[in-house]
């Protein structure tokens, strides 16, 4: 196969990836990203974990150490299966805080401290650079293997040249799709989709080679198992301590690797995708590791001794004349390498730009940034520069050290390096007491020990550390030997470094946190991180200040772009109820701006930029208040409970009142029935007694007989009247009255009423005063019913007025459309405590002898007036008893069961 064909295939594949990324970006810009942001794409993009190291190196690893390579997949599998524990929280916080990288997340948690950001960034660069170099090397090696120009490990200029081109191509791709624009969420759908495509290619390639090996070269799974048993070597034996260490290391790496953080947290579009990935990603890892051991075993059998096992995936099909399969394998390896480089570079470039370049630029440019100039350009260019620098660094590292170390070793060394972020990260998520001092000391200590005990020695004696230091320790201090710190010699260098770096890191972190005192922002952020699942509203990090909305607008425009910023400001102004583009600079708004900016330049930088505009220290009473955000939440919760309890109390009171009312009604009903019974029995007693007397009337004078018969007659009428009243009241109360509306002169009605009431205690002489002029008014109402009310009121006065010379004064007044007729006597009136009772049924205040009625009169009057659209009321404080009857001059003729009912209910 010619080199040209290989290069053309490579180029075609790269062009295909460019097209995929480009198409997706176009779709994303048009907002059609739904299917692209699916859990499938998300899971596939996670496979960026499987680099060229996995693709080529795992086979080599298996050839050297048997099953141990599985640990590299077991760790991530455990982390994803237990996603609920840590990943979910990471993703949630990542979204809440608009985190742009792992450095951003850690610095955001520790008081938006840029020192921490710088530390993490440096750590990641140092750890990732060899890793990137490793990818370039793997591409170069595979290229060399393919072109059959390679013997042993030597590298020719041609491969270096190829690697350089690959690095340049990757830089171009990353710049094009990683820094297209300054996205608010720092997400790159084009890149992610291209990565997902590469994930499929590398999986298919490895499975294709595996199937070829198992079913074509060997005789199926059974045969392969036999061969594996036969090939087993003593060094393949499982070492439990090493297994545990490596599983742990790989688990930590999947969380802490900058590129994994990028795809898992930053590029996550939906938290639910994580749930899918929790089983789908382990499945992917299982699939990709399934054929590693068969390929290794068959490679060891068939390939000449001394062949690089790291390249068996490629060289095995080549040797067996399977050029097509080899091409697929090459593209798989190419995919694995490029995807890692692209994502790692984007993640690192974001960190470098946000934590190193932009802060430096802000630092040297004192005072509030000028209003002109688009800072987006600065940020994007700094990222482009960082991408080039990182790839350049990787290439230089490759060119200088290329081929010196086995692939797997570099991978594991990088793992230990990024693992140094674990204590600070775990502390960030679960320990509110963790602070930036602890984080800085811990990171620093871990970083140094990693450098000294693992990273620098890995270059071999004499490169960074002399052979003498390696063997005897610096200045001959034995317990400081890089591979035997504190005299521990039983661990292999990797686990040794992992153990000491993480132990001292954690001790320093915890000690520093316990001794140090967190700043207010740290407390706020700590509460937000640790309680990420309880938090509804955002942090309240900014206090009311003199920050000019206009300055903020000018600054934000330079980061976010004019249109986007103006939309954002306008929306917030509208939310505050203001027109235009300038909202009040409330703490909430400042916080929102900061978050928005943080999405582009990271939390620390965004905070610093706002600080520049606000122009003062940000620790204020409000900040301190915000520190108590958790307390505030508890208080709010308690307030809610209190509110609920008050509501319950209100309901209970209403129920109690309703119950009281029902009880009262029930008592009233019983009393009413008892009253009716009494009122009926009284006339019946007379009737029975006299009828019995008349039955035995022998010798009784006829005039007595007539007299007793008349009593019976009168009592019967009384009974009838009582029953009539009861029925009348019942009809009135139910609003089923048929009103007989007629026109009449008010004076005539009063005349008639006076005449009728005179029959009550006719012996009493009442002087009646009237206002004849005012009475000359025509009314249109049920005149019969109205007269009934007048008669009742006048009769009552005749019965109850206790004046020696009783006077009844009748006055008429108009109140808009209502006529008010007042009946005032000159008696002693009705005592205050009884005034409320008089309109109740059977509420006769005095005795029966005087009253002569059943005590339903005023109750009936009240019901009649309600039916006439008016009212009857006792007017207190007038000396004598005064009843005011008011009613509309003209009563609208309505259906009998309409108007009166509603007015009645309104009156009650």
């Amino acid at each position: 196969m010619s080199v040209n064909l290989l290069v053309i295939a490579c180029l075609a594949y790269v062009v295909f990836l460019f097209l995929v990324a480009f198409a997706v970006e176009r779709q994303a810009e048009r907002g059609r990203v739904r299917w692209l942001r699916s859990s499938l794409i998300y899971t596939l993009s996670l496979s960026v974990y499987c680099t060229a190291w996995t693709f080529y190196g795992a086979v080599g690893y298996a050839a050297r150490s048997g099953l141990e390579f599985v640990t590299i997949y077991l760790g991530p599998t455990l982390v994803f299966v237990g996603w609920w524990l840590m990943l979910r929280k990471l993703v949630r916080i990542g979204k809440q805080q608009r985190v742009t990288s792992i450095a951003d997340m850690i610095s955001a948690r520790y008081g938006k401290s840029n020192l921490i950001g710088v530390l993490v960034t440096l750590l990641c660069i140092v750890a990732a650079t060899p890793y990137i170099a490793l990818q370039l090397q793997s591409i170069a090696l595979s290229f060399a293997a393919f072109t059959s120009e390679l013997n042993g490990d030597g590298l020719s200029d041609r491969q270096d040249f190829f690697a350089l081109w690959v690095a340049a191509g990757l830089a171009l791709f990353t710049i094009l799709f990683g820094t297209r624009n300054l996205d608010a969420n720092e997400q790159h759908p084009g890149v992610v989709t291209a990565i997902a495509v590469e994930a499929v290619v590398k999986l298919l390639a490895l499975i294709a080679v595996g199937v070829f090996v198992v079913w074509v070269v060997a005789d199926g799974p059974g045969d392969i198992l036999t061969r594996i048993d036969a090939a087993a070597r003593p060094e393949w034996a499982i070492q439990p301590g090493r297994w545990i260490g490596l599983v742990f290391l790989a688990g930590v790496a999947i969380i802490c690797l900058p590129r994994m953080f990028q795809v898992t947290v930053v590029e996550n579009a939906d938290e639910r995708h994580l749930a899918t990935a929790s089983w789908a990603f382990p499945l992917y890892l299982f699939a990709i590791s399934l054929f590693v051991l068969p390929i290794a075993v068959v490679g060891l059998e068939l390939m000449p001794s001394g062949s690089n096992p790291d390249l068996f995936v490629l060289t095995l099909p080549l040797t067996l004349g399977q050029d097509g399969l080899a091409m697929l394998a090459f593209l798989g390896g190419f995919s694995a390498a490029t995807s890692m480089v692209i994502v790692a570079t984007i993640a690192l470039a974001t960190m470098v730009s946000n934590h190193l370049m932009v802060p430096l630029w802000l630092h040297f440019k004192k005072g509030p940034a000028g209003r002109r100039g688009d800072m987006r350009g600065l940020v994007l260019n700094s990222r482009r520069l960082a991408i080039c620098l990182l790839l350049g660094l990787g290439y230089v590292y490759y060119a200088v050290t290329g081929g010196s170390a086995a692939l797997a070793a570099i991978g594991l060394i990088a793992f230990v390096g990024v693992a140094q972020m674990l204590p600070a990260l775990v502390g960030a998520l679960f320990w509110r007491g963790a602070n930036r001092i602890g984080a800085a000391i811990g990171l620093g200590a871990g970083f140094l020990i990693w450098l000294y005990a693992l990273f620098l020695p890995s270059f071999g004696p004499g490169v960074f550390l002399s052979a003498q230091v390696m063997a005897e320790g610096p200045f001959g201090i034995g317990w400081l030997r890089p591979y035997a710190l504190f005299g521990v010699t039983t661990l292999d260098p990797l686990l040794h470094a992992l153990f000491w770096s993480l132990t001292l890191n954690t001790v320093a972190f915890v000690t520093g946190s316990l001794l140090g005192f967190p700043t207010p922002i740290e407390r706020v952020q700590g509460a937000q991180f640790v309680n990420a699942f309880d938090i509804q509203a955002g942090a309240r990090g900014w206090s009311q200040s003199a920050a000019e909305a206009e300055d903020l607008l000018a600054m934000a425009q330079r980061i976010l772009g004019t249109a986007e910023t103006q939309r954002f400001f306008q929306a917030h102004a509208a939310a505050q109820g203001k027109a235009g583009f300038l909202p009040d600079t409330t703490p909430q708004f400042l916080d929102a701006v900061e978050r928005k900016l943080a999405g582009s330049v990271g939390a620390a930088t965004a905070h610093a930029m706002i600080e520049q505009i606000v122009g003062r220290a940000i620790v204020s009473v409000e900040d301190l208040m915000a520190v108590a955000s958790e307390t505030a939440q508890i208080m709010e919760y308690s307030n809610q409970l209190e509110g609920k309890s008050a509501e319950l109390e209100r309901t209970a009171r209403q129920l109690r009142e309703a119950n009281d009312m029902l009880t009262k009604l029930s008592v009233q009903k019983d009393a009413f029935l008892s009253q009716i019974s009494h009122e009926l029995r009284t006339p019946m007693t007379s009737i029975r007694a006299f009828s019995e007397i008349l039955m035995d009337a022998e010798g009784m004078p006829p005039e007595d007989q007539v007299k007793y018969a008349r009593i019976i007659h009168d009592e019967t009428i009384r009974l009838t009247r009582l029953l009539d009243d009861l029925l009348d009241l019942s009809v009135l109360e139910n609003g089923q009255v048929n009103l007989d509306i007629q026109e009449a002169r008010l004076s005539d009605l009063i005349d008639r009423a006076i005449l009728a009431s005179n029959s009550v205690q006719p012996q009493r002489k009442f002087r009646i005063q009237r206002d004849s002029a005012a009475e000359q008014v025509k009314v249109e109402t049920d005149t019969g019913r109205l007269s009934q009310v007048f008669i009742n009121v006048l009769s009552n006065a005749r019965k109850y007025c206790d004046a020696d010379a009783p006077v009844m004064e009748i006055s008429v007044a108009r109140n808009e459309d209502m006529i008010e007729v007042d009946f005032a006597d000159n008696g002693s009136g009705i005592p205050f405590e009884k005034q409320a009772l008089i309109f109740e049924k059977f509420a006769r205040l005095t005795d029966q002898m005087q009253a002569g009625g059943a005590g339903l009169g005023l109750a009936i009057c009240r019901e009649i007036m309600i039916n006439l659209g008016g009212s009857i009321a006792y007017v207190p404080g007038q000396g004598g008893a005064v009843f005011r009857v008011s009613f509309p001059q003209v009563l609208a003729r309505t259906e009998p069961d309409q108007g009166p009912v509603s007015e009645r209910s309104a009156a009650e």
Binding site: R681, T685, S686, A689, I693, Q848
Partner: protein, 122 residues
């Protein structure tokens, strides 16, 4: 003492009927229609029997009964409660306050006469 019956009753027709029924049997009937001073009327001249209504103007029949039973001169005077309130609670109240007998309205004339003959201390 004679055969004197005091009727404390505000309904004129009822007291008229009682007067007729008892007079025909030879009783001397005195009618008092008001509750307020009924007790003092009894004390002033204790009759052979008091026929007492409950629903009286001024003062309840139960109230009058109680003060009769508390005062020495009237403690032993037989009292026939005659009321339109016939509920068990009223009956109990009357018994507790020391009514000699309890009758509800309307009544049979013969029953009333029998009760008076039975109870009156002559």
């Amino acid at each position: 003492m004679g055969k004197r019956v005091l009727v404390i009753e505000d309904e004129a027709n009822i007291s008229e009927a009682i007067r007729f029924i008892l007079s025909r049997d030879g009783w001397e009937v005195e009618i008092h229609p008001d509750g307020t001073d009924a007790a003092s009327v009894v004390t002033a001249c204790p009759p052979s029997l008091v026929i007492l209504d409950v629903m009286l103007p001024g003062r309840s029949g139960f109230d009058i009964l109680r003060s009769l039973r508390e005062a020495e001169p009237t403690r032993a005077v037989p009292v026939l409660m005659l009321t339109a309130k016939g509920q068990a609670a009223d009956r109990e109240l009357a018994a507790r306050f020391g009514a000699t007998r309890f009758m509800t309205k309307p009544f049979a004339n013969a029953d009333l006469l029998a009760a008076v003959r039975d109870l009156a201390v002559t």
